[in-house]
Symmetry: C2
Subunit: 221 residues, 2 copies
């Protein structure tokens, strides 16, 4: 375990939950930051993030980015159209892109990390995101990592430990770390239960199957 | 003139005002974005930015980043201590650093640019900022430019036209472009008039002197 304080960008979903448990194994002090930005599933995500941080006794800050919901266009947002159903592939999920969302979140997290003496920001992006979301790809992570390191005078770096893993591999790692997946939230629709039909629910179901671990999620129907 | 729509990160200060006039000469369509983030001079800056955009008929969006004033620590913020007086040098101005401020502003601007079909974000940083603000240096600009280009799928790039110019050179360029410097605001104290004593006022006075152009600013005393 490294004697450093790190900050996890934490949505309350599967991947960032595994990142949180992983960071607690790797570093001596861990904080988490979540963002409210007007997505349809924001209330569900934030409730999940809050519950997990309380359970783990992890300090948790929630940063409002209301301008995204106000000015940007995406089906992911409350201001946008319906979330597409079906497979998690580029054509189907394109409408859920929120322009440069990870750039905005990572930049805010980097500032907060520098201000609070954290030496790293951790993002749980993975290979399955790459085709759909340009701000999850290795080239983006590489540039953003350089910007964060240079722009904080070398005080903060960006870690992306799952950048070359599949979501199934992350789920398997999470199981080995004791992640309580029943507390996590994925569904882009953000209703009472996971819809089981949107691209992100399909991807969640597939990840548990690929990892060979039980899926504790309650789905609609 | 290039037939592109670009977005200028616009504080209402000297450098970003010259960037705005420069962009209007270089590109067919120009918008501006300003940020409110709880600085002592935010109201003055935003009023200046608004007045200039109205004068030039430039579409202008103001994005609130209230979390900076709430969570971050800096003498530049309303929540922080006194703005230091005296020369614009590293030791004196260190307390005015707002962690990764340009990273946060550029990330938000990149998302807004992608969403609104702008092909570039323009930042008016210059050599005089480099010693004090790590998120003004060429290494930061380079990393952030890569992150923005990759993270927007190649749709947006970052332009930093003054990155190797002094503030005096920018002022001279501004004079040649017809910038109305009397409308711009620099002073970090944000009172009725420019204080004339803080590092940023000193730098402003020196820039007009270096450029050999009249300083239209009303200073206190």
């Amino acid at each position: 375990m490294t004697d450093q304080h790190v900050l996890v960008v934490f949505s309350g979903g599967m991947d960032s939950s595994v990142a949180l448990w992983w960071a607690r194994r790797e570093f001596s002090a861990v904080s988490a930051v979540s963002f409210s930005y007007g997505s349809k599933h924001n209330a569900r995500e934030l409730a999940a993030a809050d519950a997990i941080c309380r359970k783990l006794n992890v300090p948790h800050v929630e940063i409002p980015l209301g301008f995204i919901g106000k000015y940007f266009h995406s089906s992911l947002l409350q201001s946008g159209g319906d979330i597409p159903e079906g497979a998690y592939n580029e054509a189907n999920m394109a409408s859920t892109v929120v322009p440069f969302r990870n750039g905005i979140m990572l930049a805010a997290a980097a500032g907060l990390a520098e201000d609070s003496g954290c030496s790293a920001v951790i993002l749980g992006n993975h290979t399955g995101d790459h085709a759909i979301y340009p701000d999850c790809r290795p080239e983006f992570i590489d540039g953003m990592g350089r910007a964060i390191e240079a722009g904080t005078g070398g005080r903060v770096r960006l870690l992306s430990p799952f950048c070359s893993m599949t979501k199934g591999q992350i789920a398997a790692l999470g199981a080995s770390l004791g992640v309580d997946f029943s507390l996590t939230w994925s569904c882009y629709n953000g209703r009472e239960k996971h819809c089981g039909k949107c691209g992100t629910c399909r991807e969640r179901i597939e990840a548990f199957r690929e990892a060979g671990i039980p899926d504790p999620t309650e789905y609609e129907d």
